[in-house]
């Protein structure tokens, strides 16, 4: 079974090639069959791998499949190899499993779109790249997949490229993440220079000795910081978070798969993968947690006031990834991955049902124009209730509770009180904005007429993800022992129960208070919102704490100014003379093009006469 590992990325890649070279000739059903089928096949293989892994774990807890040598430069011979261990298996399950559900949903969602097969070809390429990212046994391949998913994210955000705004959103996402990628690339160079290898296992083994000296500690601090920069960019954390809300310009399944479930969690995966480096640099590790904490609070406040249904979810994604970073910072590696998994379930569910709502309301995304949809869209409503519950971490019955509570407990147990309090407050914010979203969209008066979807590719993914978002998802325990080090507070006992009670009551309290205020004091709420101070705060929050404005002033405008200043300088003029000369030469040479064949032949003949004469007189 392990031999089939390569299929997990080969199948989507083949799907991509077929769809890309088919150029839409396959028709919608054919494209859907190829696009969904290839990911489905990958999911099946993954399921088999999971069964095998749990039943008969490979020696050393990891299986490596060397396909071929990629290149040979001096002593540097990276193998083209796939490595399967508990961590990558977990990621694989999320990518192919959730990915398959989203593909299935997308085959319903995208029907009738001009770029139907193009969409699936991008999606398949994305899945292939993401699988490659998590399976690569070498940081080089990880980086390869990293850039691959970035490319697919760019392509899919700008999928409806005819609207210029989508194109600029795609560019923004690409450029902002590129900043992080550059950090990461430099970090990898530094790592390779220090250790002479990029093979992940060797890095993890060599690092403790190699960085034992004072200068080594400085080096590992720098490397960890640079890797964090990459992770921050990909995972939309402070300060590179601004691209994610704009990325919602892509089709909703894209938002579900790439900008909620998989790609944006790549940063979490990267840090978990290279955890040894972060453990060697404790202050950087703590910085990871702080970044996560600040981001989750900022995103939580921002989500409170957003009016676009997808933007609310985008900010909540940022905030949830903030939780994961917080967990990483607190040393709760497994909890971070666990939350990554459950978050993939319930956030994919939320995005897909948001997609269902959007499509039912004729591509309306503004929640102020929705309302009372619970009657017309019962399935979407229940999905939102369960997914929102998981997001807000309603105790015991939702998947989100188990993972988030684990994070809070570990933060508390590890003595990171700052992180713990931030997380607790974030939980309150989460429950409030989640409740607000559900109340505004599904309750109140009906403002638009919605058409519910139908078909198996519509309800099956929602149903599966719905089940996974309940406590069922919380029962899945990723086999991470041996891959990631144990967290400080394993097997908590009474203290953990206390934390559970605290966080659970915070979540429930937030929901109840919000619902109560919404149903009983709508007038007071309105009056509060109308207050000038509240308006200012609202605007500030709405603009996501003004980061876009800040970056525009700080980076974009100076850059444009520089470009303008430089556009007419001396060098430019000097270079400009060359094309000018060429243009004149062109005008002259077009004169010789008379269109008369005999003229050309005569010049040939004259040339021949000259050449032969030269030969004759030379010797």
């Amino acid at each position: 079974m392990y031999d089939l590992l390569f299929l997990v990325f080969a199948l989507p890649l083949a799907g991509f090639l077929i769809l890309a070279f088919g150029r839409g000739r396959l028709g919608e059903n054919g494209a859907a069959a190829v696009g969904v089928g290839s990911v489905g096949g990958a999911a099946l293989v993954t399921a088999g791998l999971v069964a095998q892994f749990l039943g008969h774990p490979p020696d050393g807890g990891a299986y490596t499949q060397v396909l071929w040598d990629w290149m040979k430069v001096g002593g540097f011979t990276p193998h083209f190899a796939l490595r399967l261990d508990g961590l990558s298996l977990t990621m694989l399950g999320v990518i192919t499993g959730v990915g398959f559900m989203i593909h299935l949903f997308a085959s319903w969602y995208m029907r009738g779109d001009d770029g139907y097969s193009r969409f699936f070809s991008y999606m398949n390429l994305f899945v292939a790249s993401m699988v490659f990212l998590v399976l690569g046994d070498n940081l080089l391949f990880l980086y390869f997949g990293w850039e691959g998913v970035g490319l697919c994210s760019f392509l899919l955000i700008g999928f409806w490229y005819k609207d210029a705004a989508n194109g600029s959103a795609a560019r923004k996402a690409f450029i902002v993440t590129r900043v992080g990628d550059t950090f990461m690339a430099i970090g990898l160079f530094w790592l390779f220079r220090s250790l002479g290898t990029l093979d992940i296992q060797q890095v993890l083994q060599l690092a403790p000795q190699a960085f034992d000296s004072e200068s080594g500690r400085q080096a590992v601090r720098g490397i960890a910081l640079l890797l964090l920069g990459g992770a921050v960019g990909k995972s939309a954390q402070l300060p590179l978070q601004t691209w994610l809300p704009d990325a919602m310009a892509g089709p909703t399944p894209v938002s579900a798969l790439i900008h909620a479930a998989t790609m944006v969690t790549a940063g979490v995966y990267l840090i978990a993968r290279t955890h040894v480096l972060f453990e060697l640099a404790p202050d950087v590790q703590h910085l990871v947690g702080v970044v996560g904490a600040v981001t989750l609070l900022l995103a939580g406040f921002t989500a409170l006031v957003q009016t676009d249904i997808k933007r609310v979810l985008a900010y909540s994604t940022m905030s949830q990834i903030g939780y994961m970073f917080l967990a990483l910072g607190a040393g709760a590696w497994s909890a971070a991955i666990f939350h990554l998994m459950t978050h993939a379930f319930f956030k994919a569910l939320l995005f897909l049902s948001a997609g269902a709502v959007i499509l039912a309301c004729h591509h309306e995304q503004d929640i102020r124009k929705m309302g009372g949809l619970r009657k017309t869209l019962p399935l979407a409503f229940w999905c939102f209730v369960v997914g929102g519950g998981a997001l807000a971490a309603v105790p015991y019955i939702t998947a989100g509770f188990y993972s988030k509570d684990e994070i809070l407990w570990q933060a508390y147990a590890g003595g990171h009180m700052d992180l713990f309090l931030a997380g607790l407050f974030g939980a309150l914010l989460t429950s409030i904005y989640t409740t607000r979203l559900i109340l505004v969209v599904f309750f109140g008066e009906e403002k638009t007429h919605a058409h519910a979807g139908h078909g198996v590719s519509y309800w099956l993914p929602l149903a599966v993800l719905l089940v996974l978002s309940t406590f069922v998802g919380g029962l899945i325990h990723p086999p991470l022992e041996g891959v990631l080090p144990a967290a400080p507070g394993e097997g908590g006992g009474a203290a953990q129960l206390g934390i559970e009670a605290l966080s659970g009551s915070v979540a429930i309290g937030g929901i109840l208070v919000t619902a109560l205020v919404y149903f009983t004091r709508p007038r007071a709420l309105l009056a509060l919102a109308q207050a000038p101070a509240a308006q200012a705060v609202r605007r500030f929050w709405f603009s996501a704490f003004g980061f876009d404005w800040l970056y525009d002033r700080l980076l974009v405008r100076p850059f444009f100014w520089l470009v303008r200043v430089c556009s007419g300088d001396l060098f430019d003029q000097a270079i400009g003379t060359i094309p000018e000369l060429l243009r004149h030469a062109n005008v002259l040479s077009t004169r010789t093009q008379t269109g008369r064949m005999r003229w050309y032949a005569a010049s040939f003949a004259a040339g021949a006469v000259l050449i032969v004469a030269a030969v004759m007189f030379r010797g």
Partner: protein, 163 residues
């Protein structure tokens, strides 16, 4: 003086000259055929019977036939002769003729320097020799040539269609 070479050579030169200067396309083509047959004879004399016979079969028997065929299809008649007479004024041909004369003199000086004689042999290189070389070291060239013929076939078919 090797008459078996020089007689066909003179015939070829004269016929070619007449072919390229004739007013009537059909007569020009007839002279061209004569020139080709004369060259075929030279091939026989040079010990290349296979090349000689191919020259007749393919050049004279197929390619020039195509020309005649096109002339028949266009059915130009006497008008074309009048037109050629108008086009072929001394003013038109004097310059190129001088240029070509210079080129001939130059070629004569270059390829036939005084005193240089590399004798040719009487040995016959027969069809089997050519065939063995053609399908041995030149196999790739044969494949390329066949591909070119296919391309020409497709192109001619496409161009020749009434649209």
């Amino acid at each position: 003086m090797d008459l078996v070479f020089w007689i066909p050579a003179l015939v070829a030169i004269v016929a070619t000259l007449l072919a390229v200067t004739n007013y009537n396309p059909v007569h020009g083509l007839l002279y061209l055929i004569v020139s080709l047959l004369a060259v075929a004879l030279i091939f026989f004399r040079l010990g290349a019977p296979f090349a000689g016979i191919l020259e007749v079969i393919v050049y004279a028997g197929a390619i020039v036939v195509l020309f005649v065929f096109v002339v028949m299809m266009l059915n130009l008649g006497d008008a074309v002769v009048e037109q050629e007479k108008r086009w072929l004024k001394p003013r038109v041909w004097a310059g190129p003729a001088v240029l070509c004369g210079v080129l001939i003199v130059e070629l004569w000086r270059v390829v036939w320097p005084a005193g240089a004689t590399h004798p040719l042999s009487d040995a016959v290189i027969d069809a089997p020799h050519v065939g063995v070389a053609l399908f041995g070291p030149y196999l790739l060239a044969v494949e390329l040539a066949s591909m070119m013929l296919l391309a020409a076939l497709v192109a001619a078919f496409h161009l020749g269609r009434h649209d």
